[in-house]
C-alpha cells in the first residue's frame, strides 16, 4: 500500500496527480475463503479489516452487490456520538467513539472526523428533565456530557431562533463535546483500502443469491459471480438483513424502512456543531464542503424503494427553518434515502444465527454509521473466536423472546426511532 502523506500529495501534485495507484484491487472471487462478509459497507469492511489486522486472518472476502460507498455508508447524516441513556448502548457507542478518535491514523486515510460537539436541544421543561436524566446517566458511566442553559445555547449557536414566540422555543440543551461528524465516503474507502492492503479480497458487483449448507452448517454461498465456499459467513447488509438471512431460512426481528437525508447548496461556515432535536426530530450540521446536512424521522412504513416520501422533506425543511430561520434562504441541492433494518427495540443484533457458521451484524436501525469502527471490531471478534465480546453480549438475537430487550425509548415491539 502506498502510504498517503502531505509530502506524497505535494510530489504527486507536481506531476498532475497521475502517479496514484488504485486504492484497492479488483480481484475475481476465489473458490473458497475462511470467512466471507456479505456487504461492503462501513460495517462489513471494518469487520474484514479487524479480522485481518487483529486476528491475523488472511483468507477473507467482502462481497458487495453494488459498489463500495454506494449503500447506507454514503447515505447517512454522518453524525457520531455516544450520548445514549442505557448502559448497554453507552458502552457500545462509546467503544466505537474511542475508535473514531484514532481512525484516521490507523487507516492512514483522512476520514475528517471532527469532534465539534453533538447538541440535543430541549424545548420544554419536560425536555430539559429528560436531557438532565440522560446527561446524568452519561456522566455516571464516564462519558462526557454538559447540560446547557438557554443562554449558553444562544451563545454557542447564534443562528438559532431564540425568541420566545419561536415555533420550537429553546430552553437549553445537552452537549456531548466529543461527538461530531465525519466524512462518510472516506470511512468506506479508508477501510476498503486498509483491508485490501492486508490481503482481504473486496469483490464488487457480486450479489448473494443463496447459501449452501450441509448438516445445518454453512458451507458456502451462491452468488451472481458463481459459487464461493466459506467456513463462516457474516451478514452486514443493513436494510436487506431480513432478505439475506431469509435465503438461509432465518426470520429476523426487523422491519425495513427508509431514512432520508437532505443537503443544501454549499455556503460559508455558519454551523460549527451538530444540532439535534429529539422531540422535534430534526438533525442539522454543516459539512466541510459547506452544505447544510439535514435529517429527520424515518419514513415509518415498510419499504425497500430507496425513494423517500416527499412529505418528510417538507417536514424536515419546515422544522430546520423554524429552528434556524436563515436556512430559508438556501436552496436544497439533493435528497436521498437509505433502507434501514429497524429492530424491535431500536438496538442492533450482533450474534451467531441458529445456523452454525452464519453470523449477523444487523438491526442497526438508522444509527449504524456512528457504530462503524466498534461494530467491525466486535463482529470480527465474534467471527474469529466464536464468542461474543462482552460489549456485544446484550445484543444477542434471543433477547427478544427472553424479554431482555435493550429498549432505549421503552416503547415495546415496534420499529421506531430513538
Amino acid at each position: 500500500m502506498k502510504r498517503y502523506s502531505s509530502l506524497g500529495l505535494l510530489t504527486a501534485g507536481l506531476t498532475g496527480h497521475t502517479s496514484w495507484p488504485r486504492a484497492w484491487r479488483d480481484p475475481a472471487p476465489k473458490a473458497r475463503y475462511d470467512i466471507v462478509i456479505i456487504g461492503g459497507g462501513g460495517h462489513g469492511l471494518a469487520t474484514a479489516y479487524n479480522l485481518a489486522k487483529r486476528h491475523g486472518l488472511r483468507n477473507i472476502a467482502v462481497l458487495e452487490k453494488g459498489w463500495i460507498g454506494g449503500g447506507n455508508t454514503g447515505r447517512n447524516t454522518t453524525i457520531v456520538r455516544s450520548n445514549y441513556r442505557l448502559p448497554q448502548m453507552q458502552d457500545l457507542m462509546e467503544f466505537s467513539l474511542k475508535l473514531w478518535e484514532t481512525m484516521t491514523d490507523e487507516l492512514n486515510y483522512n476520514v475528517m472526523f471532527s469532534q465539534r460537539g453533538a447538541i440535543f436541544l430541549g424545548h420544554s421543561d419536560s425536555d430539559m428533565t429528560k436531557l438532565a436524566e440522560r446527561g446524568d446517566a452519561m456522566l455516571a458511566r464516564g462519558l462526557d456530557a454538559e447540560l446547557l442553559t438557554r443562554e449558553q445555547i444562544a451563545k454557542m449557536i447564534p443562528v438559532l431562533d431564540m425568541s420566545r414566540d419561536a415555533r420550537f422555543p429553546i430552553e437549553g440543551g445537552l452537549n456531548q463535546p466529543r461527538g461530531g461528524s465525519a466524512r462518510h465516503d472516506a470511512v468506506a474507502w479508508g477501510y476498503a483500502r486498509a483491508a485490501d492492503a492486508l490481503g482481504v479480497d473486496i469483490i464488487q458487483n457480486c450479489e448473494v443469491t443463496g447459501f449452501s449448507m450441509r448438516g445445518g452448517k454453512v458451507e458456502g454461498l451462491e452468488t451472481t459471480r458463481g459459487p464461493i465456499g466459506a467456513d463462516k459467513v457474516g451478514i452486514c447488509v443493513a436494510g436487506h438483513s431480513g432478505q439475506v438471512a431469509g435465503l438461509a431460512g432465518v426470520k429476523l426481528p426487523v422491519e425495513s424502512q427508509l431514512l432520508q437525508a437532505f443537503v443544501t447548496e454549499p455556503i460559508k461556515p455558519m454551523i460549527d456543531t451538530v444540532i439535534m432535536s429529539q422531540s422535534v426530530h430534526c438533525y442539522i450540521s454543516q459539512s466541510d464542503k459547506g452544505e447544510v446536512v439535514l435529517g429527520g424521522d424515518p419514513d415509518n412504513y415498510p419499504t425497500y424503494s430507496q425513494r423517500g416520501v416527499p412529505m418528510r422533506l417538507e417536514q424536515v425543511a419546515g422544522e430546520a427553518i423554524a429552528l434556524i430561520p436563515a436556512l430559508s434562504k438556501l436552496r436544497m441541492l439533493r435528497s436521498w434515502a437509505g433502507t434501514t433494518d429497524m429492530s424491535f427495540d431500536g438496538a442492533p443484533i450482533l450474534d451467531e444465527l441458529p445456523i452454525e457458521g452464519l453470523y449477523l451484524s444487523g438491526g442497526w436501525c438508522y444509527g449504524g454509521f456512528k457504530a462503524t469502527p466498534g461494530s467491525g471490531w466486535l463482529f470480527a471478534d465474534h467471527l474469529a473466536t466464536g464468542q461474543a465480546h462482552p460489549i456485544a453480549r446484550p445484543f444477542a438475537l434471543d433477547r427478544f423472546e427472553r424479554g431482555a430487550t435493550v429498549d432505549e425509548t421503552g416503547a415495546g415491539p415496534k420499529a421506531r426511532d430513538r
Binding site: 431480513g242 431469509g246 429476523l252 426481528p253 422491519e255 425495513s256 419499504t303 412529505m311 427478544f400
Partner: protein
C-alpha cells in the same frame, strides 16, 4: 407519496394515513408464548407484496388492510377489516 383509496373517504394522500403493522404480526389475545414470539419477532419483512394494516388516522380513523408492494409502492387491494379479523 402513495395514494390510498379509503372505502369511506375515497382516494386520499398517504399523509393522512399511518402504517400500523404487518398483518403477519397481528397477535390474537389467546396466542401462546411461542405464537407471540413467532408473530412479533420472526418476520417475513417481505421485499415485494405485503399484507399490512394502515389507519386513516387524519381522516375517518378506520383501520384498513392493504395489499401493497414494498418496492414499487403499488397498492393492489384496500379493504375494511371484517368482524372476524
Amino acid at each position: 407519496m402513495q395514494l390510498i383509496a379509503c372505502p369511506h373517504c375515497g382516494p386520499r394522500a398517504q399523509a393522512e394515513f399511518e402504517f400500523d403493522r404487518s398483518v403477519e404480526s397481528v397477535l390474537t389475545v389467546d396466542a401462546t408464548e411461542a405464537e407471540a414470539v413467532a408473530r412479533l419477532y420472526h418476520r417475513e419483512n417481505p421485499k415485494g407484496w405485503s399484507w399490512e394494516l394502515w389507519r386513516h388516522s387524519a381522516g375517518c380513523g378506520v383501520f384498513l388492510k392493504l395489499h401493497r408492494h414494498t418496492v414499487t409502492h403499488e397498492i393492489a387491494e384496500v379493504s375494511l377489516l371484517d368482524a372476524a379479523q
